[in-house]
Amino acid sequence: MGKVTGFFDYPRRAFAYRPVGERVNDYKELIIPQSGPEITTQAARCMDCGIPFCQAMGCPVYNLIPEWNDLVYKGNWQEAYERLEMTNNLPEITGRICPAPCETSCTLSINSSPVTIKQIELAIIENAFAQGWVTARPPAAESGRKVAVIGSGPAGISAAQQLRRMGHAVTVFEREDRIGGILRYGIPDFKLEKWVLDRRLEQLIEEGVNFETSVHIGDDLSARYLRRAFDAVLVAMGAGQPRDLTVPGRGLQNIHFAMEYLIQSNKSIAGILGDEKQISAKNRNVLVIGGGDTGSDCVGTARRQGAKKIYQFEIMPKPREWQDSTNPSWPYWPQILRTSSSHEEGCERDWNILTKEFTGTGAGAVEKIRCVRLEWKPSEKGKPPAMVEIPGSEFSLDVDLVLLAMGFLHVTHNRLLDDFKVDYDPRGNIKTSSYGTSVDGVFAAGDADIGASLVVRAIFHGREAAKAIDNYLKNKK
């Protein structure tokens, strides 16, 4: 364990961010990494709990958090890396962008402040890269089996790496022009610079994972071909179907889905999309509808593009404000008001707002939004509260750009899935049992399987699906 009384002796010191005034001028990473000794001190706060709620309830990939905390405290960074790597294929990514449910589950969140698990994770992996400990680990022997992975997001990458290490020939198919899925084009650079991803992909390539980009499965490659050419197929193409807002005026120009906006922005930063084609927030009044992480990313991007004014509306009530470093719902994820780095950069947030209609200019572009304020009435036990419009609370707002960030419904029901004839669950996700779909030899993992969720959960899914596929291949004659 860390230092016996470390949790008591040292205060929590989390990541610092670059100053707002500086960071809004570029797309570079916000985080300022802390010094090695500070990380060691922070690791000393870990109590090596009899039940590490961080590992067992918090972390979706079940990182062996107390173990590597202890090793960092003792200065044994290489072993810390080895134990981190045992559960997580992409710690340099989760170390940057994970909302860190481990920290809200940390035992110190009961009545103190949690261990800075996320920054320790990042420090371990960045140090490992710096020291050259992160090397390719190609399989000891080839199994002679071939696996296709559809989608190169976190689930796909993790599964591909695990499957490859088990000795299978793995090909990852990606619709976009570059590998990475949501990591590549969904998350802005200021949260995840893309060299981080490229660095990891090099390892996969060296281990022998085969990547094919700009392949539209179902169009460029048929389901039938995939079934014939590969011993197993893993569908890891995310939950691409955004929730839409069906109100009058939805068809007006300058109303976009958030992901559409973010992908274009990311491509632009990567230098592969001309500015002229880009949806830009520059000098516009921007409204982001939806109060989640994607919405927040839109806010940060819009700020950097030079938006005049940014609003973010949420239909649900404002969560309880909670300044304390403890978790009121410990060990569960608390429903509290979260202020992201993007919010800090300037944005007007409001809650309990229902969009009634968009109205446009003569040119067909959006000009105004008409809304009404809501009240949520508690209903009988076990049922969600009921939404009631407050009479007379209607108002309207001038907007030039509307970004819909209201979450995702399910996996995109595309031709591939139609051809595979996979069953869906009631919510429209691919129905699975231990990662196997209703079709023999076809597996699903990540958001495609369970609906939109965290990157870290997708990693876990990828790893587990790899195990399931390996078992399947072992038993398949």
Binding site: F8, C49, I51, Q55, P139
Partner: protein
């Protein structure tokens, strides 16, 4: 209730006249009713009772004429002794059947000659014949058969049966159970042409063995034909009596012609009262008060030795003596068998006794070189029969007595001027005029005394042993022959790390990260076993889906109640890890060659040591290596084991005297045989073929790493162990700088070995075993989850009561580890986490998962039944969370009743208690919250063992009470005062704790703050130690005595005894019931703890499901269940748990962990570090602020559980809980649970319905009867009424004798009730007694009472003294010098917290143990004085025994050190010796001695004062080091927060 309702009740003949009864009984037994013993036998296979676990203890003694004069008086005196020891015996469930009493005398020739004439035949002259005392069947035909066997066997041995004499008996005095099993008692008279003396005895011995063997081959058990004695010198009368029935039953004994110069007597207290006349004592040579803990190993070794036995005295007859140990005997009977062999083989009585129970002869004893050599030489020949023992023995000419090395049983003697010697467990058993007394004394630990009636002298220990030790040149023999390898056990050399194989080997042997950083690293750093807390909620090995090492299926047995654990820390001078390894020679001979063996000072071999052994070939001592690897397939493991066994046998035949079993060489195709399996298989094979004693077994294994592993390997037959992989791991840890930076590899390995050695001593000690020689192969383990076939084949004799896995599962587990190690590249590169000691998702399952903790807290805080339902569904979900045996159970369908008809929650919760948690282990806040909650419910919380602040006895303004209804009385007796005892509804004697049964504990100084110190009567900042044993409970009769003491101290409270489940716990519970406890608590192995060694948390004790079922079965069978309530605890979490416990027989239920979880505990398992981050298990004020628990949470939990219980009751058709208790027939094994390892489990013995007679209860239906008829307090209270009520002084005087026990406790209770701990003004009540006081004189004596005793006292004087004064001196008309004689017994002032005691004369062993405040002056004392003392002052005006001041952390002692050798007898670990120079010391010492003179008129003390200036410099002051610094600190009022206190185990 089930099955036996129609059985005729034949056991009530009490009102019929005697001859009719006999007739009637005979008819019944000749007729249709089966013999009880036969019935018992069939029953034993069906349930959990096993006679192997019966224990007995007792009163024992002898009386003899030194001059050999045979008188009837001696016989009469023997009977009187028995009658005066009656309270040390016990009676059975019929309230009348005694456990046994008997007397061994010289053959009363005159009497027998006259009787035989009456019977129609004459006897030769005295000494020319042998007389057999026989127990035969009452059924005539069967008896005829037995007689025929007897006569033909005697004839075959060329003897002649002169005639038979039926011994007259009067069965009307017997209890029902005794009468039902009464044998036909008869005597046979036998001659062998010309034989007399030893020659005759040997003939009789051979003849008896032939009779026994023939009877056995004719299918007769010991109950059908038993030879109680068969000798020309001694005759044995015994049976199932309590003492007063003895002479009534045998009229022979009243005949004045029945004369003897020796009477050796025994009153038995057995845990069971299953009828067994044969097991009453004495046996043919010995009477034993105690218990042999190493029996299994002793039997195995003796059996193996038979092959090499030879003796010129027996010639060819030697084969007729086998088996030497007769089956069916008790431990004492078996001891007698071997003792008899040694004596018959030509060794003297005393020589044989010295071999079987050697005294301690370690380096800390100043004993003669020859004696030391004698013991060492014999260590190579015979292992000790280890356990607490007071033996009396006789061959008809010499009578003697001996104590074991620990001296845990009392033996007091008186020698009179008229030549009488009386020795007994108590003083005062015969009335002897004071002026006739020549000497009064007690046997010291390991000492012996003989009365030689032929030479008319009493021989004392020194002379006996000097003469025996010099019979042969043992010292020279030893010097010349013993092999001590040069450099063996030198500094360990470097260890090579095999980088290529380290990780794979670790994986093959199942190492996890936890093994490295929680087990091996702490051992290497701290040289002691790692400590953990919060108990064990992990899945049992047999229920775990992850591969387990074979060790995990075994559980350590431990001593509770019937024999005390030894203290491996403070009394380790009696313990030894030394052993001889190699080829043993003929037991019945002695020669130089006998000690030509390898001497190992301890059993852990470094790699260098092993290499030396490997290459050894000195003077015929040769070693051979035997690989123990197999190829991974099931068939080959059995075959591989057979091959290994055969190979080893061959090597032994070829002259190999040391076998090294080795699992080096693991590779892709070779899997190691589990080391324990290999060792036991080889050991058992060699025992079977009679070759075990020809070789030593050493194991070189990568598997052994934690203490439990070493203990198992030794316990199943290994002589030494080389844990090469553990060493390699340490080397790797050092290289990776994972250990403390300044630790060298050599030091790390030495530390590790030291930790293993300490751990071994600890495990031995909790079994009450002192030497590794007798621990080896003693198999003191039980298995949980191993199948019958596996056990029978490889671990025979090991209890395994629920079946389980076989060889194929072991192979599967081995293969799983092996293939993980040699498997693909994709898996994790590092070691697995483990998850045993700290939860890890995807590792070992735990009952309290993170989800369970979260839900439980949410449910109880928000008072949300729906969340609680989720919680209990989660915990009970067997398919997902199979952790416990009860997880495999389900309920049978029954006719349900409406929920509304079921008794309400309010009454059910009254059966709930919170388990004992001391204030000290948990915070004041948590402790008081539990008390408030349970008091509000009308349930009970338990104080734990840390005492209780008196402020809490006053109710709060809002009506809440902080008082714990249950007060615990544990081994350290912290704060146990009269007032503490009075303020309780229940007094609980904690014999053991689930997390560390058989162990004591320590509360580190940093947890002892001012409040805790106040409550525990100690000094802030000074470490507090709980000894492993209660020093007033060394046996079951001692427990009965403490129960009696506590009942006196609070007649309104019920008395309970806390036991931990293990094989045999049922028999202990029966003993507890017979000791008149009102309730017995059976704790599971998995209970929580503030701190325990991890190996104890994991590996000692068994699940309560088995222990509770056994308890219920044994209590019901003994007809004791109706008198005692049963409580159960151990990881109780839900209503389902409660219902299962109820159905298995519990009436009440305890919750520990679950209750503290509701208060915020999150299973940090950091209690021992004082860093509990939620303020539950810490004393740190800053952390305590974080406590957020509320009584409501606990109340909600209890009510939720009760509500669940109600739902189950409705479903099972019970309206009241009473109906449900013991209905194990409603439990079935859930066939739906499928698990690859549970297939072989068989719960039929656990769920076996009890055999009931009509009306026999399954639950407690009546109260225990406590007999206060001999209590003097009743009359004192009456006479001192004015004092008690009006504080008016009263002086009383009365006689006293040893049957008047526990004087003063009841009186003190009356005072405490009125005045609290303040008591009365000094000397308000003065009582002067004359005579011999019974045990516990002045127990819990409070302020204002002075007891003065002219005479002697027995054990436990001033136990728990809390303010009163005790004055003792010998009779004024005594002629002996008082200060050289023993006036008072053992364990005086145990747990005293205040008051004064003055003893003119000497006291026995363990004076003022755990004294925390009393002042005492005594004129000499035995071993272990002032042990564990934390306060008070003791003045010793004379000699002390050894080990004075061991563990003494407070208080002061002054010792008069006449010859300046006191420092050699004092344990200097924690104290300094200083001269008495400071003025205040001088003054205090002088005034104490002056008091002493004033009270006792001791001329000796008076002399000291007269020569004060001369004497003062001869005094030394014994000053505890910690105490001194604490006093200084207090003086300076400094805080000690900066001080670093080593992490160590603590009291819970």
């Amino acid at each position: 209730m089930i099955g036996s309702l129609n059985k005729p009740n034949i056991r009530r003949p009490a009102l019929v006249v005697q001859c009719c009864i006999l007739h009637l009984l005979r008819l019944l037994y000749d007729g249709t009713v089966p013999h009880v013993a036969a019935g018992e036998e069939t029953m034993t296979r069906k349930d959990l009772y096993d006679p192997f676990f019966e224990h007995d203890s007792c009163g024992v003694g002898f009386v003899a004429h030194v001059n050999g004069t045979r008188t009837h008086d001696i016989v009469a005196n023997g009977i009187t002794i028995l009658k005066n020891l009656v309270h040390r015996g016990a009676i059975g469930g019929d309230q009348k059947t005694g456990d046994g009493a008997g007397m061994l005398t010289q053959v009363p020739h005159e009497f027998l000659a006259a009787e035989c004439v009456k019977a129609g035949f004459g006897l030769p002259t005295a000494g020319g014949y042998g007389v057999a005392m026989l127990f035969l069947p009452r059924a005539a035909t069967k008896r005829k058969e037995a007689k025929d066997i007897f006569e033909s066997a005697v004839r075959d041995e060329a003897g002649a049966v002169l005639g038979w004499r039926d011994v007259p008996v009067r069965p009307d005095c017997l209890g029902d159970m005794a009468a039902a099993s009464m044998p036909f008692v008869t005597q046979a008279f036998v001659t062998f042409e010309g034989a007399s003396g030893p020659g005759l005895e040997r003939k009789l011995y051979v003849a008896r063995k032939c009779i026994e063997r023939q009877a056995a081959s004719a299918g007769m058990s010991m109950d059908d034909l038993y030879v109680a004695s068969f000798s020309g010198a001694t005759l044995n009368y015994k049976g199932m009596f309590v003492a007063p029935q003895f002479d009534a039953f045998y009229p022979d004994l009243l005949d004045p012609k029945f004369t003897s110069a020796i009477a050796l007597v025994h009153q038995r207290y057995s845990t069971n009262t299953f009828p067994s006349w044969c097991l009453a004592q004495p046996f043919r040579y010995c009477a034993h008060n105690g218990e042999i803990n190493t029996l299994r190993g002793n039997i195995n070794k003796m059996n193996a030795r038979e092959a090499t036995l030879s003796s010129a005295l027996f010639g060819q007859d030697i084969k007729k003596l086998f088996p030497v140990i007769a089956a069916g005997g008790s431990d004492s009977a078996m001891f007698d068998n071997v003792y008899e062999l040694l004596v018959m083989g030509g060794r003297s009585l005393e020589h044989s006794m010295m071999m079987m129970i050697p005294e301690a002869f370690g380096p800390r004893y100043h004993i003669s070189e020859d004696k030391r050599a004698f013991y060492e030489y014999h260590a190579a020949i015979l292992e000790p029969w280890d356990g607490p023992a007071s033996f009396s023995f006789t061959d008809g000419t010499i009578v003697g007595a001996a104590l074991d090395r620990n001296g845990l049983r009392p033996a007091r003697y008186v020698i009179t001027r008229s030549g009488l010697v009386v020795l007994a467990s108590e003083i005062g058993v015969l009335d002897i005029p004071a002026n006739d007394v020549l000497e009064k004394g007690r046997l010291a630990p390991g000492k012996m005394i003989l009365v030689d009636t032929a030479h008319n002298r009493v021989v004392f220990d020194n002379e006996i042993k000097a003469s025996v030790s010099r019979r042969k040149p043992y010292r020279r023999w030893l010097e010349k022959n013993k092999i001590e390898l040069k450099g063996l056990f030198g500094v360990p050399g470097p260890v090579r790390i095999e980088r290529d194989t380290l990780l794979t080997n670790e994986k093959v042997f199942g190492y996890t990260l936890e093994d490295l950083d929680m087990i091996i690293a702490p051992m290497a750093e701290n040289a002691q076993e790692p400590v953990g807390s919060m108990g064990n909620d992990e899945a049992l090995a047999v229920l775990s889906e992850r591969p387990q090492v074979l060790f995990n299926y075994f559980k350590q047995l431990f001593a509770q109640v019937t024999n005390p654990p030894i203290d491996p820390y403070r009394e380790n001078l009696v313990m030894s890890l030394m052993s001889f390894v190699g080829r043993e020679s003929n037991l019945l001979d002695e020669s130089e060659q006998h000690c030509r063996q390898l001497k190992l000072s301890h059993p852990i071999l470094s790699n260098d040591d092993l290499n030396k052994l490997r290459n050894m070939n000195v003077g015929g001592f040769r070693s051979c290596v035997q690989p123990i690897l197999f190829e991974p397939s099931t068939r080959s493991l059995n075959a591989a084991l057979d091959a290994v066994a055969a190979d080893v046998e061959k090597k032994v035949e070829d002259g190999c005297s040391l076998i090294i079993l080795s699992d080096r060489g693991v590779d892709e195709t070779h899997v190691p045989i589990p080391s324990l399996l290999a060792v036991s298989a080889v050991h058992q094979h060699l025992v079977r073929v009679g070759k075990r004693q020809l070789t030593g077994i050493v194991i070189e294994t990568g598997e052994a790493r934690e203490v439990m592993h070493f203990a198992c390997l030794m316990g199943f037959g290994a002589s030494a162990i080389n844990p090469y992989l553990a060493f390699e791991v340490i080397a790797d840890l050092v290289e990776r700088k994972s250990l403390q930076s300044d630790l060298t590899l050599e030091a790390a390995i030495e530390n590790y070995i030291t930790a293993v050695k300490k751990g071994l001593l600890k495990i031995m000690s909790k079994m009450g075993v002192s030497t590794i020689r007798s621990y080896k192969g003693a198999q003191i383990f039980e298995a949980v989850g191993l199948g019958e076939e596996l056990i029978d084949r490889y671990f025979p004799g090991t209890p395994s009561r629920i079946g389980g896995i076989g060889v194929s599962e072991i192979v599967a587990e081995s293969n799983a580890r092996h293939s993980a190690a040699f498997g693909s590249n994709a898996g994790p590169q590092g070691l697995e986490s483990g998850g045993k000691y700290r939860y890890r998702e995807f590792s070992e399952k735990h009952l309290l998962s993170p989800v369970a903790v979260a839900l439980l807290q949410k449910a109880t805080r928000e008072n949300d039944p729906a969340v609680f339902a989720q919680y209990s569904a989660h915990v009970n979900n067997v398919s997902a969370n199979l952790c416990t045996l009860r997880g495999l159970f389900s309920f049978k369908k029954a006719a349900d009743v409406p929920l509304d008809d079921v008794e309400p929650v309010e009454s059910i919760v009254k059966r709930f208690v919170t388990s004992a948690m001391s204030f000290g282990s948990i915070s004041k806040d948590a402790h008081e919250t539990l008390a408030i909650a349970m008091n509000r419910l009308g349930a009970a919380s338990n104080s734990g063992e840390g005492g209780e602040d008196e402020e809490r006895y006053v109710p709060l303004a809002n009506g809440d009470s902080l008082k714990s209804a249950i007060k615990q009385v544990a081994s350290a007796r912290f704060g146990v005062t009269s007032n503490y005892l009075v303020n309780s509804r229940e007094l609980q004697i904690k014999m053991a704790q689930g997390a560390k049964p058989g162990e004591g504990g320590q509360l580190p100084g940093n947890k002892v703050d001012k409040t805790i110190a106040k409550v525990r009567h100690s000094t802030p900042g000074v470490m507090l130690i709980s000894p492993p044993p209660h020093h007033d409970i060394y046996s079951i009769e001692d427990l009965a005595q403490l129960i009696f003491d506590l009942k006196n101290a609070n007649r309104g409270a019920r008395i309970s005894v806390k036991l931990v489940a293990e094989a045999g716990v049922g028999t202990v519970a029966a003993g507890v019931a017979k000791g008149r406890a009102d309730m017995v608590l059976i704790s599971g192995h998995d209970g929580g703890t503030g701190a325990s060694p991890l190996s104890s948390i994991k590996h000692a004790g068994i699940p309560w499901e088995i222990g509770l079922a056994e308890t219920q079965q044994v209590l019901v069978r003994n007809r004791l269940r109706g008198f005692i309530r049963v409580q159960c605890d151990g990881q109780m979490k839900t209503g389902r748990d409660v219902v299962i416990a109820a159905l298995l027989g519990a009436e009440e239920f305890g919750f520990g962990t679950a209750a503290v979880v509701t208060l915020g505990c999150i299973m940090m398992r950091k209690c021992h570090l004082n860093t509990c981050p939620v303020g539950v298990a810490t004393q740190d004020p800053a952390l305590r602020k974080r406590f957020t628990g509320k009584p409501e949470y606990v109340i909600n939990f209890m009510r939720f559980v009760a509500q669940e219980v109600r739902q189950y009751m409705a479903q099972l058709g019970f309206k009241t809980m009473d109906e449900m208790i013991g209905r194990s027939d409603l439990i079935e094994v859930n066939g739906a649970v499928s698990h690859w390892k549970t297939r072989g489990l068989d719960f039929s013995r656990v769920l076996a319905p009890p055999q009931l007679d009509a009306g026999q209860p399954l639950r407690c239906v009546s109260k225990q009867v406590h007999d206060f008829s001999n209590s003097l307090d009743v009359s004192i209270i009456e006479q001192a009424k004015v004092s008690i009520e009006d504080k008016k002084p009263v002086s009383l005087a009365m006689p006293i004798r040893n049957r008047n026990r526990t004087v003063g406790a009841m009186l003190s209770a009356e005072i405490s009730k009125r005045y609290g701990s303040a008591g009365l003004p000094a000397n308000t009540i003065k009582v002067k007694f004359t005579g011999a006081a019974g045990q516990s004189f002045g127990a819990f004596l409070t302020r204002g009472v002075t007891l003065e005793l002219e005479g002697d006292a027995n054990d436990y004087v001033g136990k728990g003294l809390c303010g009163g004064t005790i004055i003792m001196y010998p009779p004024r008309d005594a002629n002996y010098r008082a200060h050289n004689n023993i006036v008072t017994g053992n364990v005086n002032l145990f747990g005293a917290t205040g008051g004064e005691m003055y003893v003119h004369g000497m006291a026995g062993e363990r004076f003022a143990v755990r004294n925390s405040g009393a002042v005492a002056v005594v004129e000499g004392l035995g071993d272990h004085g002032c042990e564990y003392m934390t306060g008070g002052t003791v003045v010793v005006l004379g000699k002390t025994g050894v080990n004075f001041a061991a563990g003494m952390s407070g208080g002061i002692a002054y010792v008069l050190d006449e010859n300046q050798l006191f420092d050699t007898r004092c344990n200097l670990e924690m104290v300094d010796l200083e001269p008495v120079v400071q003025e205040e010391d001088k003054k205090s010492l002088h005034s104490l001695i002056a008091n002493h003179v004033r009270y006792t008129q001791s001329p000796y003390a008076s002399q000291i004062l007269d020569d004060w200036s001369e004497m003062l410099p001869r005094f030394v002051k014994v000053m505890p080091i910690d105490y001194r610094s604490a006093l200084e600190r207090i003086r300076k009022d400094q805080s000690r927060e900066t001080e670093v206190v080593p992490i160590t185990e603590e009291v819970y």
